[in-house]
Amino acid sequence: MTTSNAVVSVAGLEKTYGKANERQYKALKDINFQVAKGEFVGIMGASGSGKTTLLNMLSTLDTPTKGDVIVNGHDVTKMRGNQLADFRAEEVGFIFQDFNLLESLTAEENIGLPLALKGTSSRVMDQAIHEVAETLSIADLLQKYPAELSGGQKQRVAAARAIVHHPSILMGDEPTGALDSTSARELLDLLTTINQKQAMSVLLVTHDPFSASFCQRILFIKDGQIGSELRRENQDRSAFYQEILNELGTFNE
């Protein structure tokens, strides 16, 4: 049931860790879902449920054992070598829990890296960096090194780096995991802004109901399988938050 406006389409995805003769562990079992263009989707589950594994499959950091993953029309499972690297560089924006900023580069240089890899001219690059810095209100941090930034500021710089090259999807693996609640909220607001203003598709992986409540749709994952799904529809965020908590109550029984 692939719809043409899906930016991510996953069918029959399985991942088994361990070689055939070793002890094997099935981290993902028959995963099927889609993310529509411009959608803000959350994947929620307890620690060890397979969230990171799933994200790694989507972003080509690891290869699936079975199944199909199509991102923005590219069949990810069929790519090799440089194609994989180029795919990550162009189609995916990534935010990690531990920021993953290069501490030898200034914020500006960190943000510009995805464009530099594409060979963008320095004029265009400067413009793009300043635009995204405005959006994320980090213009005054550009000349600083990561060591001089707070956790929240680091994560905003990381977000800027993730979207500066206009990828087709922004993925976050527990991006608020290392932040205090104020910074976490700021970041989630920013992600919402990015999603709405730039129509950027966002896939957020989290175990935290508060983070999840910023999404339009949530897929619950447990033991490597997607169990249920919640839609925010027209509820406000706090109502949706309550609904998530209720769902978790039943989901975890």
């Binding site: 440089n82 990534f94 501490e103 200034t106 530099a116 890899l117 060591a147």
Partner: protein, 603 residues
């Protein structure tokens, strides 16, 4: 339990430990070989003028000990960089600092002792085969060279184990004093140093001035005498350091502002260098000096080797003198490319030797004239018989034509009629001066050998420039051998210093390259980025070292009279040296790639 954990940590990094162990082993082996040569009294006595030999070897030993200390320092920091994260973790989990300290101490000491033991064994083997090979290929024959020599073993063991005890203590103090957090995140700290343009400029200018003084001191060694070397050593070291500090960082920072920096991984490369160069400055200074010493030692050594025959003309008026030449000797002489040849009849009586004035008029005896001063020019002149009758008897070369086992006979030139009446043992002597000793060496060697066989007492022989040349070869041979030996040893150690320093940074880079990998940087790009970064770190001391050598060779100018020159034919020496240096670069690069580049799947 903790011990087991520590062992597991070592097992995980087997390859890095192997590199470290191999490096230390090589260093100990080299040191043993040198100590064996330097302390072996029988060997030294048999081979060169004793006092100058012990001076040369003493100087060499001091340099070698110096570089060994530096080397172990860097090897140790590499070891520490591998281990501190593990030990930080153990401490965080509640291990006692005292226990950790013990472990670190033991680990360092065991590694060091094992390396020393294997190194000495390897050194024994290398002394047996390699030293012989090196000597052979230089055409030198050094007598009494034993490979097994107890004092050398003791010297090596004492020095190395001593240094490792110091290193162990240093590690113990370092690990027990540093906070756990710092240990855990040691490779994530970016020490961004402030650039103060004015200070930088002053440092840069001061550096240049100091370098200028140093280079001048080397060139002016005739004026400054022995003060030149320490003066140059201090000023060049300081100058290089200041210059590096001032310029490299400024250069990198200005590059970072250009459009070039915004292409591909260039910004990352510059960021890495900027991040590193500051704490590499001291290292690069030391390495460039060692580089210069190594290259200098080889250059001077091979310079003497290649150029000594050119000097041979200055050693005497004739290349060789043959007494009562045989048919076989005549055949050999016919093979030579002769410039001047003369045969004189001698009558020996008691302490006197008589010459026929008529003969000397017909074939005047050539005398060697050398101009004094910087540019020595040699010429061969003859004098009228009247004049020669006065000067001849004091001319060393002429005196040398007739000797017995006790002394040189006193020559007397008499008229033909008197000569005919003169009683005594009649002999003839043929002097030969060849165009090029270099070309005719094999033939002359045979002639000299025949002469030696015929006249059992070497003292009964004359001393031509060939014999002087042979003696000089013996002496300079030692110098030259030292040059090659120290040069290669220095190169091996300095390149490993650089290697260890760079590899020490690898654990931190592992994370960085993993990030780049996740961001979609192609392997090829990461690989070439690393090649550039390490290449630059190798290149900087290389260039500085070559400049140092080019100026430093000035020092040897007074020792090498023209037409010899310390700069003659250095191209090939440089090429060989740079080739070896490049091999070290490649080894470092491959190791770095292996450590740093992410495997395809995330952990």
């Amino acid at each position: 339990m903790l011990g087991k954990l520590a062992l597991a940590g070592i097992k995980n990094r087997r390859r890095d430990y192997l590199v470290l162990l191999a490096g230390l082993t090589m260093s100990a082996a080299i040191f043993y070989m040198f100590a064996n040569l330097a302390t072996n009294k029988a060997f030294i006595k048999a081979n060169a003028v004793a006092s100058s030999a012990s001076l040369i070897f003493g100087f060499g030993a001091a340099l070698l000990i110096l570089i060994t200390i530096v080397y172990i320092m860097y090897a140790n920091s590499f070891l520490l960089s591998m281990r501190q994260h593990d030990y930080g973790l153990f401490m965080m989990l509640g291990a006692k600092r005292k226990r950790i300290g013990e472990l670190v101490f033991l680990e360092t000491l065991i590694l060091g002792t094992v390396a020393t033991a294997i190194g000495i064994a390897l050194g024994l083997l290398m002394s047996k085969f390699l030293v012989g090979f090196l000597l052979d290929s230089l055409g030198l024959h050094l007598a009494h060279l034993a490979s097994f020599y107890v004092p050398a073993i003791i010297a090596t063991a004492v020095l190395y184990v001593g240094l490792f005890i110091l290193a162990s203590l240093f590690n113990l103090i370092h690990l027990t004093r540093t906070t756990v957090l710092k240990l855990l995140h040691s490779d994530e700290q970016a020490n961004q140093t402030q650039v103060k343009p004015f200070r930088q400029a002053v440092a840069g200018v001061l550096g240049l001035v100091l370098l200028g003084i140093g280079y001048w001191a080397l060139a002016a060694i005739k004026v400054l005498q022995t003060a030149a070397i320490p003066l140059a050593l201090v000023t060049i070291t300081l100058g290089t350091y200041l210059l590096f500090r001032a310029t490299i960082l400024m250069f990198i920072r200005s590059l970072r502002k250009t459009a070039w920096a915004k292409k591909h991984l260039n910004s990352f490369l510059l960021g890495q260098l900027n991040f590193r160069v500051h704490n590499y400055t001291r290292m690069l200074t030391i390495v460039s000096l060692l580089f210069a010493m190594a290259l200098g030692a080889i250059t001077v050594g091979s310079g003497y080797h290649r150029q000594l025959p050119m000097m041979a003309g200055n050693f005497g008026a004739y290349t060789i003198a043959v007494h009562d030449k045989t048919a076989q000797e005549q055949r050999l002489i016919d093979c030579l490319d002769i410039r001047h040849q003369a045969t004189y009849t001698q009558k020996r009586q008691g302490k006197m030797v008589y010459y026929n004035a008529a003969e000397l008029t017909k074939h005047p005896f050539e005398q060697l004239k050398m101009t004094t001063g910087d540019n020595v020019k040699t010429s061969y002149v003859t004098e009228s018989i009247k004049k020669f009758q006065k000067t001849g008897p004091t001319d060393m070369d002429f005196l040398g034509l007739a000797t017995n086992s006790q002394r040189m006979l006193t020559p007397k030139i008499v008229s033909a009629s008197q000569f005919a009446k003169q009683s005594g043992k009649t002999t003839t002597v043929t002097t030969v001066r060849v165009k090029s000793l270099q070309r005719d060496t094999p033939t002359i060697k045979k002639l000299a050998k025949l002469e030696r066989q015929r006249f059992s007492q070497p003292a009964e022989m004359t001393i031509g420039s060939y014999q002087s040349y042979e003696m000089m070869t013996g002496f300079f041979g030692g110098l030259e051998f030292m040059g090659y030996f120290l040069g290669i040893a220095f190169l091996a150690m300095l390149a490993s210093c650089l290697m260890f320093k760079i590899l020490s940074g690898a654990p931190g880079d592992q994370r960085r390259y993993r990030m780049l990998y996740k961001m979609g940087v192609r392997y090829q790009l990461m690989r070439s980025g690393i090649a550039k970064e390490i290449g630059i770190l190798f290149l900087i001391p290389g260039i500085m070292g070559i400049i140092d050598v080019l100026f430093g060779l000035q020092m040897f100018k007074p020792l090498m009279q023209s037409p010899m020159s310390p700069y003659l034919g250095i191209g090939s020496t440089f090429a060989i040296f740079l080739g070896l240096y490049a091999i070290y670069y490649l080894i470092t690069l491959v190791l770095y790639w292996r450590i740093v580049l992410p495997k395809t799947a995330v952990k």
